[in-house]
């Protein structure tokens, strides 16, 4: 790799601030800054640094402050709790159970509120809406599910070929980023496996599926699990390191929480399908929201400037998240519109695949994870 400042004048800014540029480099920087307002602004900031640290007295003072900070920081960072591994704090089943119960309870409360409003409405003579849950996606011909399953299988298979292979992270320079990338890829492939299972299941004739319709909800809900995993890998420190065994505690907790909510939501969707407790469409609606949020959270991470995904390209991905949320209303659409929406969703899924594949293949994901390991995503950086 060539030195970045061979082609990028912005890379000269730190050298300018430290007063380390050669006359030639300085010339190149000023020339570039005269053409580029953004670079000029950075140059002005670097000028402030250069002036500020030109005083030996100020450098000495700054050095003392940092030394004092380094002396005090380890003592603050090593309370007993931080040294205890995550599993020592709370059992995993408890972390999973709490969100599962709370999401279940929330939906039940919503259902009660819905029943109250419906009864009040009917007592006032307002006509009731249809409350029977019709199996979603029932209106879509099985052939479309088969096509979708075939496309998903193809895209999943592509991930195991040398074609569009993800850029590797050097384990020597970035051991954490390397493991994060492996975690992300694992989660991403599992998402496609889940989608494949879902569409393979939907490919069966409706008469075969109907007695076991809750399986659709289980498979549908499971597709969100690896997507949440991928999001959390990008969002939180997900790798434990020898000196800090509890470094991934927040990640594990977040995974357990989101998956726990997923379990609760799937249970509610099944209850809706089976017409238990008068839940109406609530359970299935929650499942749609859960699936949509998984995609929205993940896509939101792609908005980082390190990923270099153009904003307009994110629009279809957010659109895909929205389609997940209206999944419950598929059966209420005109059959032609159901098919149309289904095809749009298929197209957007393919878009999602190619954008993530591009991020992995072009190295944007690698750069993001490396930057996260270096702590330069921002003061509160994830990795």
């Amino acid at each position: 790799m060539a030195r970045p400042d061979d082609r990028d004048p912005a890379a000269l800014i730190p050298g300018y601030a430290a007063g380390q540029l050669t006359a030639e480099e300085e010339r190149a920087l000023f020339e570039a800054a005269s053409r580029d307002q953004e670079l000029f602004n950075e140059l002005m900031e670097a000028e402030a640094l250069r002036e500020g640290f030109s005083s030996a007295e100020e450098r000495r003072r700054a050095s003392e402050i940092l030394r004092a900070w380094d002396r005090s920081a380890p003592a603050e960072e090593t309370p007993a709790a931080a040294a205890v591994p995550y599993h020592g704090q709370e059992p995993l089943w408890a972390t999973l159970l709490r969100p599962a119960i709370s999401s279940f309870a929330t939906a039940l409360a919503g259902s009660v509120a819905y029943a109250v409003i419906k009864n009040i409405g009917s007592s006032l003579g307002v006509p009731q809406t249809r409350s029977v849950v019709a199996p979603a996606l029932q209106t879509v011909p099985a052939i479309l599910h088969q096509v979708q399953a075939a496309i998903v299988a193809l895209l999943l298979g592509l991930q195991f070929t040398p074609f569009l292979r993800p850029q590797r992270v050097s384990g020597e320079a970035h051991p954490i980023a390397q493991r994060c990338l492996a975690q992300f890829i694992r989660g991403w492939r599992w998402a496609w496996v889940c989608w494949l299972c879902l569409y393979a299941w939907l490919s069966f004739h409706p008469q075969v599926r109907e007695p076991m319709e809750p399986i659709t909800d289980i498979l549908n809900g499971l597709t969100a699990f690896p997507l949440f995993w991928c999001f959390l890998v990008l969002d939180k420190p997900s790798v434990a390191v020898p000196g800090k065994p509890g470094r991934d505690a927040a990640f594990r907790q977040a995974v357990a929480t989101t998956w726990g909510i997923g379990v609760g939501v799937i249970a509610l969707a099944i209850a809706s399908r089976l017409h238990w407790w008068g839940l109406g469409e609530f359970g299935v609606a929650f499942l749609g929201i859960y699936d949509g949020l998984a995609i929205a959270f993940l896509v939101g991470r792609f908005d980082s400037h390190w990923m270099q995904v153009p904003r307009w390209m994110l629009a279809p991905l957010y659109g895909y998240a929205l389609i997940q949320m209206i999944y419950v209303f598929f059966d209420q659409l005109d059959p032609a519109w159901s098919v149309y929406t289904y095809l749009v969703a298929l197209l957007l899924k393919v878009c999602l695949f190619f954008i993530v594949t591009h991020l992995l293949h072009a190295g944007h994901m690698r750069r993001y994870l490396e930057a996260a390991e270096e702590g330069v995503l921002g003061p509160q950086s994830g990795q």
């Binding site: 900031e45 000028e47 640094l49 500020g52 450098r59 940092l66 320079a173």
Partner: protein, 184 residues
Amino acid sequence: MPPAPQPDLEHEYQESLRTVRQRILGFLIARGHDRTEAEDVAQDCMVALLDRYREVRDGQEMIKLGVRIAFNRICQVYRDRKRVAPISEAAVDQMEFRSPRNPDSGRRIEEKVECRDIVDRVVRGMLGLQPRCRELLRLLLIEQKSSDEIRAAMGIESNYLYVLRERCFRALRRSAGGSFYGTA
């Protein structure tokens, strides 16, 4: 005084002056100054630059000088805003300066105070960074180590150092609140 520049150089100087003015104006507006104030500051910089423009050899030197002048002028603007009351004798004593001009450094009191403010903002920003970035910036800005020395101290490759240096600088600026200058 050096001789007046040749006509073609004169043209280059005029172009450079226009560019510098435009860039200073852009910088100030990006920092939230209103246009009138930004125009005033840019104009002051131009006057200072015109006083010295015969000292420079070409357009690039003009821009370099323009950056230095703009820095000083902008700092002065922020100093003037903060100066709600004149600095008392006691305050001056506390700053350990005995006269308005320190013979050791040639800096005036307000320039020293400005340097201190900048360093404070930078150090606060550094405390918000990850240890790796903090270490790199400490070696670069405070210890003033060369690239080779930093590479040896941190055990990293040359190419990686350049990438990390740029990223840490951006992170530092964000961590310091977006700018090392005072409040606009």
